[in-house]
């Protein structure tokens, strides 16, 4: 590295997960000098997203432990605690390919299916060993002129198999491991896929803090549920209700009546404490259909959810309808990992110093308070430190066994419910073990998957065996036996299973010095609201009297155009800011703050069918161009 880090900061943040990143942004925003470091060479920790190749490498990186060799000069009076514990690791990682290694026309499909496991396992391992951190070989192949002989040969082979890129998706049995890996960068695979409620706290924060400018979103276009062995669309709008022939007129009235009265029910409960939401709904004499929709889909409850929680969750769903799209949910383009990066960007814009891939050795405590972080050969001082729980010293944590999230990510060849238009689908699958599996199906419009393939993320509260936890859900949605070509169901081309530690219920504050703050990792919720709450709490413990993420000024306020019209516009806007800013404007003015109209980049129109058609054209056009080259 060319530069040493400065050695004194107002705040050190260790780990680039969501909660750490929010705190980093909030502290930088109020003018604190923040050092934000991570041991990984990527942003996000357990909240990160990866392309296919980098995701495959995770299986190996899994066992990578934090280097705890002490090179520092801490003397006897100091108390040194090495960094890192087992909560940093993904567990039970398993990857399976259900496509042939490469297209070899002399082999029959059946033979390939029989042998693929062994062959591919070897190949995966071999590839993982090359270049764990940097640019992958495959990317070089795509890019350019510096090809080694072997790679060149590989490239030729590949091209022979896929003369035209579009053909990749044509037939399922033409998709090979090689073709998927060649498209590695078109995949963005989230470790922890999340949606946002359109009127949830998190979305409100993105807007009020002006961080929304660093991310783009798409509205989830349909919500499904699993009822009586079938997939059904959960009605989210009047047209959905009418289009749904499974819901009778009487049921429609029933549903509307329930949703209208739910407000009243919350204030004047007609039920005793401890009643489940399911029993509450039953007392409303709902049909089985409607009960199912409300219980498992709208409120995302289980049979055990208590009535008040159920009502609150139902209201949250209803409140977020009608803001950005057909459903209450938003997904961030290019994957959930973008969100942590958006907060890091804001932190950097306000002076936060970022350093990834750092050798963190440990913390030095003095008088039972955090004094400094040993990072590389440097000792960095700060009055406070915020750490991801997975990077905290072992002695800060006391727990027997932590909870786990069971995750599966799959690549499939078609949507769960085929339709002409490409959908982004949320499915809430109530499994028999009384767990709700959250299934998110993403297509190419989200920028996380090549055209005509789908990325399916499944999450549930887990045990030690993610594959077993998700078996029922996956077997219901996808053909059980590989090769049953007659099935209408989408075929799983690639699957990965893993567990993420859910540290949200651990006692994180009892065994740490008063100036150390631990941030939990991902939780089992669909959205970020719980994480935001935790970030806010930590921020206000450190800076009790400071505002949490006030609106960041637009830095693109000065529009220099030829026309005087534009110049006038700028003046108008700056006036309005000065009038509105109530004394908080001092920092803003120092940062050249003259907010421009929110119509600059912030207000593109919503997904409408016609525009989507345009989009398709553009994509086809650019793909056609790719092929020509």
């Amino acid at each position: 590295m060319d530069y040493d880090l400065p050695t004194e900061f107002d705040l050190i943040v260790v780990g680039t997960g969501l909660i750490e990143s929010i705190i980093s942004a909030a502290a930088s925003r109020i003018g604190k000098q923040v050092l934000h470091v991570d041991v990984n060479n990527y942003y996000g920790g357990h909240w990160a997203s990866f392309n296919l190749e980098d995701f495959l490498k995770l299986k190996q990186a899994d066992s990578k432990s934090v280097d705890i060799a002490l090179e520092g000069d801490s003397n006897d009076k100091d108390h040194f605690l090495p960094i890192g514990n087992s909560l940093n690791q993904l567990q039970h990682f398993e990857i399976d390919w259900n496509v042939p290694d490469r297209d070899n026309k002399s082999d029959s499909l059946i033979e390939k299916n029989e042998t693929h496991d062994e062959v591919e396992e070897i190949k995966v391992n071999k590839d993982c060993q090359q270049d764990v951190l940097g640019v992958t070989k495959e990317e070089n192949v795509e890019v350019g002129p510096q090809l080694g002989e072997k790679e060149l040969k590989e490239k030729c082979d590949t091209e022979e198999i896929q003369p035209v890129k579009d053909e990749i998706e044509q037939k399922c049995d033409e998709i090979t491991q090689e073709s998927l890996r060649k498209d590695s960068r078109k995949f963005v695979i989230d470790l922890c896929p999340k949606l946002q409620f359109a009127r949830g706290d998190f979305v409100e924060l993105l807007i009020s803090s002006n961080i929304a400018r660093y991310a783009e979103f798409r509205s989830i276009s349909r919500v499904l549920t699993w009822i009586n062995g079938n997939l059904e669309v959960v009605p989210c709008s009047r047209s959905d209700v009418f289009a749904n022939n499974k819901v009778s007129v009487i049921e429609k009235r029933m549903l509307m009546k329930l949703l209208t009265s739910i407000e009243e029910d919350e204030k004047n409960p007609s039920v005793t404490e401890g009643t489940t939401f399911k029993d509450f709904l039953k007392s409303k004499k709902l049909s089985e259909n409607i009960l199912h929709f409300v219980l498992y889909a709208l409120s995302m409850s289980t049979n055990e959810t208590l009535w008040l929680e159920g009502i609150k969750k139902t209201k949250r769903f209803l409140n977020s309808l009608g803001r950005f799209g057909k459903t209450p949910f938003l997904f961030s383009m290019y994957g959930s990992g973008e969100i942590t990066q958006a907060f890091c960007r804001l932190s950097a814009v306000f002076g936060g110093v970022f350093a990834l891939n750092q050798k963190l050795h440990g913390l030095v405590l003095k008088n039972n308070k955090f004094e400094s972080l040993l990072c590389g050969k440097q000792k960095i001082l700060s009055p406070h430190i915020v750490m991801n729980v997975g990077l905290a010293p072992e002695s800060f944590l006391k727990y027997d066994k932590t909870k786990l999230l069971s995750r599966a990510s799959l690549i499939t060849n078609k949507s769960l419910v085929n339709s002409e238009k490409e959908h982004m689908t949320l499915l809430l699958y109530p499994a028999a073990n009384n767990k709700l599996c959250t299934v998110l199906e993403l297509g190419s419009l989200t920028g996380t998957c090549p055209k005509n393939l789908f990325l399916v993320h499944i999450t549930t509260k887990g045990s030690d065996d993610p594959k077993e936890d998700l078996r029922e859900c996956i077997e219901s949605l996808f053909p059980v036996e590989a090769g049953s070509e007659t099935s209408e169901k989408p075929k799983i081309l690639w699957s990965s299973y893993f567990s993420i530690p859910d540290t949200n219920e651990l006692n994180l504050n009892s065994f740490v010095p008063s100036n150390v703050f631990l941030c939990p990792g991902p939780d089992s919720d669909l959205d970020y609201d719980l994480s935001l709450k935790k970030a806010r709490e930590i921020f206000s413990s450190i800076y009790p009297n400071e505002e949490f993420l006030p609106r960041a000024p637009d830095s693109d306020e000065i529009v220099i155009g030829d026309d005087t019209e534009a110049a006038k516009e700028v003046t108008d806007h700056s006036d309005s800011v000065l009038n509105n800013s109530d004394g908080t404007s001092e920092t803003e003015i120092a940062l050249e703050a003259r907010a421009s109209g929110s119509d600059l980049d912030i207000s593109s129109d919503v997904c409408e069918p016609t525009e989507q058609e345009n989009l398709k054209d553009v994509e086809q056009c650019s793909e056609a161009k790719e092929n020509m080259q």
């Binding site: 590295m1 060319d2 530069y3 942003y43 990317e139 890019v143 993105l206 807007i207 929304a212 660093y214 783009e216 979103f217 798409r218 509205s219 989210c236 709008s237 009047r238 047209s239 509307m256 949703l259 209208t260 309808l321 009608g322 803001r323 950005f324 799209g325 057909k326 290019y334 973008e338 990066q341 958006a342 960007r345 950097a348 814009v349 110093v353 970022f354 990834l356 419009l445 830095s555 693109d556 000065i558 529009v559 220099i560 155009g561 030829d562 534009a566 940062l591 929110s598 119509d599 600059l600 980049d601 912030i602 207000s603 593109s604 919503v606 997904c607 345009n614 989009l615 553009v618 161009k625």
Partner: protein, 203 residues
């Protein structure tokens, strides 16, 4: 006004710390130069309207926000950029030899395979010069990028650099056409026509 704008282009400025990335940006946008500017704080991105071949385009030019210092630019910084300006300091050879790394970063993270790249040799006003024009040109040719020499201090070349880059982007088919209806969240809600009849309005 907005409806006259052909498209909005995202342009990145990258390169080693201290080569004058923000200075070039500020010179282009505000026609300002601050010789005392040390480290970049608070510069996010700037927009400017320019007219190229009778087309009005809006440029959104993104600064690194200082994240280049420890090579920690986020992948999202590179997303959807149509053009990239790689800056080095002609009076500091090491900033030139680092260009390879920056080209690599671009290839790794840029989502548009035909992103237009331009190398800018900055600080040509300085007497001491460590990188010759010929050497830089040769490098640019080898990597198939545009090359321009500039000085943010004296204004030389700055305007031309952006004009050339935009010109090349506009000429590249499939690179800049609007890429679709993603939502950016703002003060205003985006209620699509068919969703205005949600449950709420039914009640």
């Amino acid at each position: 006004m907005d409806e006259d704008i052909l498209t909005t282009l995202k342009i990145l400025i990258i390169g080693e710390s201290g080569v004058g990335k923000s200075s070039i940006l500020l010179r282009f946008i505000d026609d300002n130069f601050d010789p005392d500017q040390t480290l970049t704080i608070g510069v996010d991105f700037k927009t400017k309207r320019v007219t190229v071949e009778e087309n009005c385009v809006k440029l959104a030019i993104w600064d690194t926000a200082g994240q280049e210092r420890f090579r920690t630019l986020t992948p999202s910084y590179y997303r959807d950029a149509q053009g990239a300006i790689l800056v080095f300091d002609v009076s500091n050879y090491s900033t030139f030899s680092r260009l390879d790394t920056w080209l690599n970063e671009l290839d790794t993270y840029s989502t548009k395979h035909n992103i237009v790249k331009m190398i800018v040799g900055n600080k040509i006003d300085k007497d001491k010069r460590e990188v010759s024009r010929e050497e830089a040109m040769k490098f640019a040719r080898r990597h198939q990028t545009l090359y321009i020499e500039a000085s943010a201090k004296t204004k030389d070349g700055v305007q031309t650099a952006f004009e050339e880059l935009v010109h090349k982007i506009i000429q590249t088919p499939g690179l800049w056409e609007s890429y679709g209806p993603n939502l950016q969240l703002g003060e205003k809600d985006h209620v699509s026509q068919n969703s205005s009849c949600s449950y709420c309005s039914l009640l």
